[in-house]
């Protein structure tokens, strides 16, 4: 008889689903970071050979990839898993909880990994007597402590993943036209989190922050508010999702 191993019994459908989704994202993250780290290393070496020195951070350019790659995975996650989840005898509610949990964790993990890569690159540059200037538009610069760098990356990454879920469910439940027409609303918050804070919103009259920590607190606050709205909309749409009776 074919051995079909019994999986460890999960306590709840949320935990069971989160484990499955997490495993799927982990595999993709392995590929992504393997390629990203190799590309960053090669770019550094090439620049070194060409210029003799390199005073900008190459790793920080992975910020866009680290945002939009998991964003696209979140879209696919909704498309691939929601129908199967319901067919396996679980509620949409548990899918929402598991998907949000996993995607927020993924956003934080990507931010942590990229922060680590940037810091390692910064240390290598420093050891070679080079600078590691950050030329991307963001709140932090090369002198920022690691926790500010982490938060600066984590806010758009988490929002990006929530946005991916939102885009996925709108396309799935409302079709291509609505999915496309609502992109400014579903993806807009990510652009806001990515650029508005970096574009010195915090310097506008009436905005009270004057320190890097204060700026970041404002960015995190805006991100949290946008994230909460996206999460509520994703939850409401998913819990009402009608699945095709004919697959």
């Amino acid at each position: 008889m074919t051995a079909v191993a019994a999986p460890a019994r999960t306590t709840t459908p949320v935990a069971h689903t989160a484990r499955r989704l997490g495993a799927a994202l982990l595999v993709m993250a392995g590929w992504f970071w393997g390629i990203a780290v190799a590309a960053i290393t090669v770019a550094n070496v090439v620049a070194w050979f060409v210029n003799g020195r390199l005073d900008v951070s190459i790793a920080v350019y992975a910020r866009q990839g680290s945002l939009w790659f998991p964003f696209s995975l979140a879209i696919m996650l909704v498309a691939a898993y929601l129908r199967v989840h319901v067919a396996a005898g679980m509620t949409r509610r548990t899918f929402v909880r598991a998907a949000v949990l996993v995607e927020m964790a993924a956003g934080l993990a990507y931010a942590a990994i990229l922060t680590a890569v940037i810091l390692v690159e910064r240390a290598v540059h420093a050891a070679l007597g080079w600078d590691a200037t950050i030329t991307e538009i963001q709140l932090t610069d090369e002198s920022s402590p690691f926790w500010l760098l982490f938060l600066d990356l984590a806010v758009p990454f988490v929002l990006g993943n929530l946005s991916g879920l939102l885009v996925g469910i709108v396309y799935q439940t409302r079709g291509g036209w609505w999915g496309t027409l609502t992109l400014p609303l579903t993806v807009g918050p990510v652009a806001v989190s990515q650029y508005v804070a970096g574009a010195r919103l915090v310097d506008l009259p009436g905005v009270w922050t004057t320190t890097p920590g204060g700026d970041m607190a404002l960015a995190v606050g805006i991100g949290a508010a946008l994230g909460a709205v996206m999460l509520l909309v994703f939850s409401a749409l998913t819990r009402r999702a009608q699945l095709a009776s004919n697959a």
């Binding site: 008889m1 079909v4 999986p7 069971h16 005898g89 679980m90 009608q242 095709a244 009776s245």
Partner: protein, 309 residues
């Protein structure tokens, strides 16, 4: 976990389902008895899959109520793990192995039997490492059957799951279903166009036509509503004169005619004297007759005339 489950009943009360202008189900009221094997029959587009989708909480009806084991299944944490709806095309993770798919489904189904899953995987010669996207249509169907039966859900709905299966595999499926049903009674709803193959399994029958319920009845009493008459053409013709003929098959001088209506006193004696044999009515003939569009058109026409008068 191989806990024996008892079946769950289903009740639809005035259920209507619209897709835009299309009415897939029109004011459907019916009951599926718990612990039975019920055939859900109907022509293409009659609303079978829509009905099953509502029961499995894939959709909410436009109007009316759906109750499974006495409760609305929509987002119902108690009910949905006990409703297993397997569709012909399968709701599986296409890019993961069958083994991964089994692990995913079994983790969500409290009554899932790994032992039965293993037996069925062997029976249908499915390799656990293969991915659904790489399987033939028949093998995909077979995997749907594995999930459907091994889940041992109190309410299992199998919608055209035999498509693509060769005849030996289909009969192996029917045998496996009966054997497991006998050991673990539950409610099974089978939707199929191969009525002659599944009719021996059915205890109850629901026939849908254009989104409406034509028949909801136990299979025995439905079969008793007709009779097959076999014998020489002339004798059969005389015997069935004045009865509602559902179907006729000829083989040389021998004719088998299916007529609707129960036998009355003296029919058996008259048949013996006429040299014709009486037998049970094939469900398929009844189904074809009931869902014949020309018959439906004639009925509608008669109804209109009745109104005009």
């Amino acid at each position: 976990m191989t806990a024996t489950t008892t079946g769950w009943g289903v009740e639809l009360q005035g259920v209507t389902q619209r897709y835009g202008d299309v009415v897939a189900l029109d004011d459907v009221t019916l009951t599926i008895r718990p612990g039975t094997v019920t055939g859900l029959l109907g022509r293409n587009g009659s609303g079978k899959s829509t009905l099953a989708g509502l029961v499995a909480a894939f959709r909410r009806p436009t109007a009316g109520r759906v109750l499974v084991d006495g409760e609305d299944p929509w987002e119902n944490e108690r009910v949905v793990p006990g409703v297993c709806f397997v569709r012909e095309s399968g709701d599986v993770l296409d890019d993961y192995s069958l083994k991964d798919n089994l692990a995913y489904v079994s983790g969500a189904r409290p009554t899932f039997s790994h032992e039965l899953a293993g037996e069925l995987m062997d029976l249908f010669e499915l390799e656990p490492q293969r991915k659904p996207s790489k399987l033939s249509r028949g093998k995909k169907s077979a995997f749907g059957i594995v999930l459907g039966l091994a889940s041992r859900a109190p309410l299992t709905i199998l919608d055209e799951v035999h498509l693509g299966l060769d005849a030996p595999s289909r009969y192996a499926f029917y045998d496996a279903l009966l054997a497991d049903y006998a050991e673990h009674p539950r409610t099974l709803v089978l939707s199929s166009h191969l009525i002659d193959e599944i009719e021996r399994l059915l205890e109850d029958v629901v026939v849908l036509d254009r989104g409406r319920v034509l028949v909801t009845q136990d299979a025995e009493s439905l079969r008793a509503e007709g009779v097959s008459v076999t014998g020489p053409a002339t004798a059969v013709q005389e015997f069935v004169a004045g009865r509602e003929v559902l179907a006729t098959q000829r083989l040389g001088g021998t004719v088998q005619t299916t007529v609707r209506g129960a036998l009355v006193e003296g029919d058996v004696r008259r048949a013996r004297e006429a040299g014709v044999e009486l037998g049970p009515v094939p469900l398929q003939d009844l189904f074809v007759h009931l869902t014949d569009p020309s018959r439906a058109g004639a009925s509608a026409s008669r109804a209109r005339q009745g109104v005009d008068r």
